[in-house]
Symmetry: C2
Subunit: 226 residues, 2 copies
């Protein structure tokens, strides 16, 4: 029987590559999306499609209404998603407070229920746009906490948080997935995708994705609205 893992899947380019890597490493993958009221709902549909291709288990979606808390352009309708700005230095308004902590905590619960020994998350510290919860130091602290938090941990089953993309830039991530035969036309990264899943081409996320395909020298299969 294959070792089991939970893969956090957003439907975007990074998490999908992460899933392809986990499968390539021989894991039996349980995919999990968090529906936290994000604007880019097209990503949730993409997640389901991607999971059907790469997982043998039903894709799980856990809804968490972070809109009740707000604090981010991605969950608060009163905050505008800005266009890409090369001069921007601060942590951007698209930052969602404690997002990866909430995602990993939910994945931890699912990992314990299915008996998984690892959680894969597609964070990258390279072009992390100033998000603190994408750094290796943060991930290590979460892993330490997770092994004190659960019945499985108390009983001696060690859980690993695996971040195969953490030292890769966007072009390298695309090269990695491409080498594994992953079809990026299934993914969507845009913060402002329209109802048909077409990307805006203007936001931070579109900027990094376009640049990544160009630098990797791989044809970009994204449908852009502009």
């Amino acid at each position: 029987m294959n070792k089991k893992c939970v893969v956090l899947l957003s439907g975007g380019l990074d998490s999908s590559t992460c899933l392809a890597v986990a499968k390539d490493h021989g894991y039996d993958c349980y995919t999990l999306s968090i529906d936290y009221g994000q604007r880019h709902r097209a990503e949730l549909r993409a997640s389901k499609n991607i999971a059907e291709v790469l997982s043998d288990h039903p894709h799980k979606v856990v809804r968490i209404n972070l809109t009740a808390i707000g604090g981010s352009a991605l969950t608060d309708p009163d905050i505008e998603v800005p266009d890409y700005d090369a001069e921007a230095a601060d942590i951007p308004v698209t930052y969602v407070p404690a997002r990866n902590t909430i995602f990993l905590s939910t994945a931890l619960a699912y990992a314990e229920v299915v008996g998984a020994e690892a959680i894969f998350i597609g964070v990258t510290a390279v072009d992390y746009s100033g998000y603190p919860d994408c750094r290796a130091e943060y991930i290590a602290s979460f892993e330490h906490m997770a092994n004190l938090a659960t019945k499985a941990g108390v009983e001696g089953q060690r859980l690993k948080i695996i971040t195969p993309l953490i030292d890769l830039n966007k072009a390298q991530i695309i090269e990695l997935g491409h080498a594994l035969g992953f079809d990026y036309s299934l993914t969507i990264s845009c913060y402002n995708a329209d109802q048909h899943g077409a990307a805006c081409g203007q936001c931070d996320s579109c900027h990094y994705r376009r640049e990544g395909f160009a630098q990797a020298g791989i044809a970009d299969p994204t449908r852009y609205a502009s």
Copy 2:
């Protein structure tokens, strides 16, 4: 301006005492309940009532459908909630995988949004029924992780996780809240409370509550169905 805190409030005896302590310590309290599909929904109504008495801010409820994941008698309708059993030694089926981690993560997001410097959680290691995520070692590891996870943490604002009940047994908790003038008739602890909020009197939670009032020598204001 008072220092701010987020208090995780379940509507039960412990978390309500925790809120009374936070207020007594001079904090401006933002209360948060997590609706995770638990059976004891009467607790959520109780939370709102308690928050109206002790907080100056609207009570927040974040819904997280952990029923999609299952794995506990509290979230999976196929698992029975057992009656109290003095011989039971293992972690019970009422254990919800990673519950406190998910609760604290959500509180962390709320703390960052309101600018709180502390999160209060009413865990107790004394009669914790074998839950691993009620131990001081776990709480310390969460606090360490939390200060690496957020924009506020990166910018140097240190967040504390405060557990005023961690070394207290049920009787001592009741004595503490009673001394602060808290009205326990507002709270409900039962895993199987009926639709009118009457407690079953048979489950683990009812057992510890009854015993606590008896040991404290304080009249138990709980309405029991049996």
